[in-house]
């Protein structure tokens, strides 16, 4: 019994300190992004652009391909049910709404967490192990400002871009299926999509993508900073960066979808 209590206690303490660490890193990131630049401590534009290429431009092919497939799969599954009611016309609407409201941001977040969240953790973890982070601190240079803020800004810009791209690729995938299998014309596909989508579908998806981007950067960098014990520690942190950020992304997804549902 006392063993179970001890386990629960230890686990709770660890959880609280993890959440506290994330919160304190978030506060630092927000400070160095939105407050410090107005006090003469400028942002690092060069490394921000570099990160934008790494996390944004380089993810375009994989995000596009996965979204295209998901669009096709959605259309297939939708048609399977809806053709029974002769509602094949609405397959396009189903794909459009699901992609923009839900799957576009989610697929983008999962791909970016896997590609970049892990890379953030590995990069910062290796720097931590080789004392490079200490070296920055010793020079009086803030490691959050130099290493985390560029990544955060890059995702702030790139997550919505990638999400829009993913929306488009998914809708195209769905359209390809309806045109091929249900004999819709291209014009019909465009009209059906236009009629189905409202601005709110797209904007809620983009808001979510910003939140997901913030989660991925914070978790990836926090895991990197908290690496202990050499190469093995870097590996462990990289893994948990991906697992924790995907978990938190989906948790945030539930919360935001609920908020959007009840405020509609």
């Amino acid at each position: 019994m006392s063993g179970i209590l001890a386990f629960l206690g230890r686990y709770t303490v660890e959880l609280v300190s993890y959440v506290g660490g994330l919160a304190s890193l978030s506060r630092d990131v927000l400070h160095w992004t939105f407050v410090a630049p107005f006090r003469g401590q400028s942002l690092k534009w060069r490394s921000t652009l570099h990160q934008m290429v790494l996390v944004g431009v380089n993810s375009v092919p994989i995000v596009g391909l996965i979204s295209l497939f998901i669009g096709v799969v959605l259309a297939l599954q939708g048609a399977y049910q809806m053709e029974k009611f002769g509602a094949g016309y609405y397959v396009t609407a189903l794909v459009g709404v699901s992609m923009t409201r839900e799957l576009g941001p989610l697929i983008t977040a999962i791909v970016v967490a896997g590609r970049s969240g892990s890379a953030f953790a590995a990069e910062l973890g290796t720097m931590k192990v080789s004392e490079e982070i200490d070296a920055l601190e010793v020079m009086g240079l803030n490691s959050v400002r130099y290493l985390v803020v560029p990544k955060y800004l890059a995702l702030l810009v790139m997550m919505p871009c990638l999400t829009l791209f993913s929306d488009t690729a998914g809708i195209m995938g769905g359209g390809a299926f309806t045109m091929y299998q249900l004999d819709h014309t291209f014009t019909l596909f465009l009209t059906a999509t236009r009629n189905a989508l409202v601005m709110r579908d797209i904007s809620t998806g983009l808001i979510k993508s910003l939140v997901f981007g913030f989660i991925i950067t914070t978790v990836g960098c926090y895991e990197g900073f908290s690496v202990r014990g050499g190469a093995e520690g870097v590996g462990r942190s990289t893994t948990s960066a991906v697992v924790v950020s995907i978990f938190l992304v989906i948790l945030a997804d539930v919360i935001f979808t609920a908020i959007f549902y009840y405020t509609d």
Binding site: E131, D134, A135, V138, M139, G140
Partner: protein, 268 residues
């Protein structure tokens, strides 16, 4: 930071530190006068590197104080201490060069970020520092292309970039062959003679300490057990001091009963 400051450059007062439950530093007291080279020696895990990290506030103590020119390092606002840090340099055990930057960019980084100097001035200053440590011609090499000894030299050039008054070395000879290590020792002596810097070196090599040190502080189990010149340390009767001087291994304790207990004890 007044330049006519008279007291000790670095003063450590009653410093106590824990890593988790384990006590790493046990009421450490130490003074380093301006311009002196103090070498901290001791076995592995005796807290020497931890002490060095406290002097430059990479770790914060459980209790006690570190004063640099009478500024309480651990209890002043970080922004203010960062101003003080500009006059401090540190060479890390692994040199800690930024791997994505060339040797020259590494040395130039503090100048670029902390001063308003022109690019051309920064370039000249960087070349001077690299030349000082014997790395002219290696400006455009990445850290991965440099040998262990050269990395340390580049790390030292970076530590010297801001013309520090205090220079800290964490195991400067770790991981180097004896000849290269001697080269680094010679470089430290050269710097000491050329500039009036206060230097603190952490090492476990008595030979290296004998070459560099004005005074030696010997640590054991988180405490400073002896401080003095090389001659004074050699004359110190403390058994641990003599053990470290003469490289005597710890005698293994073989109490049969205790040994059996450690084997049969159930895991806690």
């Amino acid at each position: 930071m007044s330049d006519d400051f008279q007291g000790p450059m670095i003063r450590v007062a009653d410093l106590v530190t824990h890593y988790g439950e384990r006590q790493v530093l046990d009421h450490v007291n130490l003074e380093v006068p301006s311009g002196e080279t103090l070498v901290i020696v001791g076995g592995s895990g005796t807290g020497k590197s931890t002490l060095l990290r406290h002097i430059i506030r990479l770790d914060l103590p459980t209790s006690g104080h570190v004063y640099i020119k009478a500024n309480d390092v651990c209890h002043m606002p970080l922004e203010r201490f960062n101003l003080l840090r500009r006059k401090m340099g540190m060479l890390f055990q692994s040199a800690a060069l930024f791997n994505s930057m060339t040797a020259e960019e590494n040395v130039a980084l503090p100048l670029r970020e902390l001063t308003q100097l022109e690019d051309s001035t920064i370039r000249i200053m960087t070349r001077i520092k690299l030349d000082l440590v014997g790395l002219s011609g290696f400006e455009n090499y990445l850290p991965a292309q440099l040998s262990g000894g050269m990395k340390k030299r580049a790390g030292l050039a970076r530590a010297l970039a801001m013309d520090p008054e205090i220079l800290l070395f964490d195991e400067p000879s770790a991981g180097l062959d004896p000849v290269t290590a001697a080269g680094i020792d010679e470089l430290i002596v050269k710097l000491k003679q050329a500039f009036r810097m206060t230097i603190v070196v952490v090492t476990h090599e008595m030979a290296s300490a004998a070459v560099i040190a004005d005074r030696i502080a010997m640590m054991h189990e988180g405490r400073v057990i002896a401080v003095g010149t090389l001659a004074e340390i050699r004359a110190n009767p403390h058994p641990r001091v003599q053990q470290l001087l003469n490289r005597v291994p710890d005698r293994e304790i073989r109490d049969a009963q205790a040994y059996l207990r450690t084997l049969t004890q159930p895991p806690s």
